[in-house]
Amino acid sequence: MSLHRIKLTVNGRPIDATVPGSMTLLQFLRDELRLTGVKDGCAEGDCGACTVIFNARAAKSCLILAAQADGSEVMTIEGLAGGAEGALHPIQEAFLEMGAVQCGYCTPGMLLTAKAFLDANPHPTRDEARLAISGNLCRCTGYAKIVEAILLASERMHE
């Protein structure tokens, strides 16, 4: 086993840690940093429940080795709302308003995918929004309300 020192920023906080070479970023975030909002759905890159924002892009944390995260900036769902207690991000508000959350398991991944997407593409078409979440599985909602919520959030964020 090899050990690797990594320095990264997670939800705005500097982290300095030592990780085994074979640990994934998902395992590091959940087991070492106790950020259990990042979900382990499949651990093989299919479901998207583990999605975080990694250097400004949505990335599946189960497909990144923790050692590869040295020098990176990571946002997990715990970092989305930010700031004032109880204040939600406009995307979270939109998901709640549109009924885009049922069991909630896919939701952290969906929200972070949506945030990275809207940051890069502030005025998307419906098809672009659907493509953006094409790597995030939802077993409950049938996706329609999630797409509506993303489009609503895009309007709200640029009023």
Binding site: S2, P20, S22, A43, E44, R57, L65, A67, A132
Partner: protein, 291 residues
């Protein structure tokens, strides 16, 4: 995931030293094949060598009529690159259909080539556009046409101590290419069949043509019989032929599809012809547009 020792290379020189010292080491870059395959026990490396920070392996350069692509180029970069979209269109179209946007942002062209899945989406595109590989080790470098690289499902001619260093694509005038993929869903799908076609025209003639397909044999394949049936004909003759049903039926002798979880061999055999026909006509349309 089974444990392994990870070596992180920070530059080309260090990478070649690691490869020479650990010739059985498994290279990892975007990790989008590495992690699932190691997790499933299909790959069992004792040592993994992370090349993702070796900047000499990154970048896209166009000079002297050749497009030089670094293996660390991600599918997202390839799909968005204006030079790849304009001059190697099949590759941009293929990369745009890999997995989903988040995986495209991490998965690399070099990894797609070196995983050597018969279904890898960029592989027919690279074969059709005539790619050439540079494989480097501490002892030097060798060039290999991509047509000689794939040896079987997941098997290739990358030797111990070597790394794929560069992919070269010749840029010729009056050419066009196209790519299509059939899958059971529109994202996160391993191809049922994928195809790339490349055409070079000279006046009224189809001077050269390449057709490559994936998921129809043990490796991605060039459809040499189908190519021979078109090469040298006039554009007009091809368009007349294309009015007939199954004008590229020769292609069925170039492929040997099997039944698997995604589709039957019979379905693949049936659908390969119309999807290849579409790719050839689209490539021809694009070649005509620039001629």
């Amino acid at each position: 995931m089974r444990d392994f020792e990870l070596l992180v290379a920070h530059n080309r020189s260090q990478l070649l030293d690691y490869l020479a010292g650990q010739p059985e080491g498994r290279i990892v870059a975007g990790a989008t094949d590495f992690i699932p395959l190691v997790g499933a026990g299909k790959w069992r490396p004792k040592i993994a060598i992370d090349i993702s920070r070796v900047r000499e392996l990154d970048g896209i350069d166009e000079s002297d009529g050749t497009l030089r692509i670094g293996p660390l180029t991600t599918h997202a970069i390839a799909a968005a690159s204006s030079v790849i979209r304009e001059r190697a269109t099949a590759l941009a179209e293929a990369s745009a259909l890999v997995a989903d946007p988040s995986i495209r942002g991490r998965a690399t062209l070099g990894g797609n080539i070196c995983t050597s899945s018969p279904a890898g989406d960029s592989l027919p595109a690279f074969l059709a556009i005539g790619a050439d590989l540079t494989l480097a080790s501490k002892d030097g470098a060798r060039r290999l046409p991509l047509t000689e690289f794939f040896l079987g499902p997941g098997k290739n001619d990358l030797r111990r101590g070597e790394v794929l260093e560069r992919i070269d694509v010749p840029l010729l005038d009056s050419t066009g290419s196209a790519f299509y993929k059939l899958g059971r869903r529109l994202a996160m799908a391993i191809a049922v069949v994928n195809v790339a076609a490349w055409v070079r025209i000279e006046g009224e003639l189809i001077a050269d043509i390449r057709i490559a397909m994936g998921s129809v044999a043990a490796t991605p394949v060039r459809c040499l019989g189908a190519e021979a049936s078109i090469r040298g004909s006039t554009i007009a003759a091809l368009k007349r032929r294309a009015a007939d049903h199954e004008w590229l039926a020769e292609l069925r002798d170039d492929i040997s599809p099997i039944d698997d979880v995604r589709a039957s061999g019979a379905y693949r055999r049936q659908v390969a012809v119309p999807i290849a026909e579409r790719a050839v006509l689209r490539a021809l349309e694009r070649a005509e547009a620039v001629s």
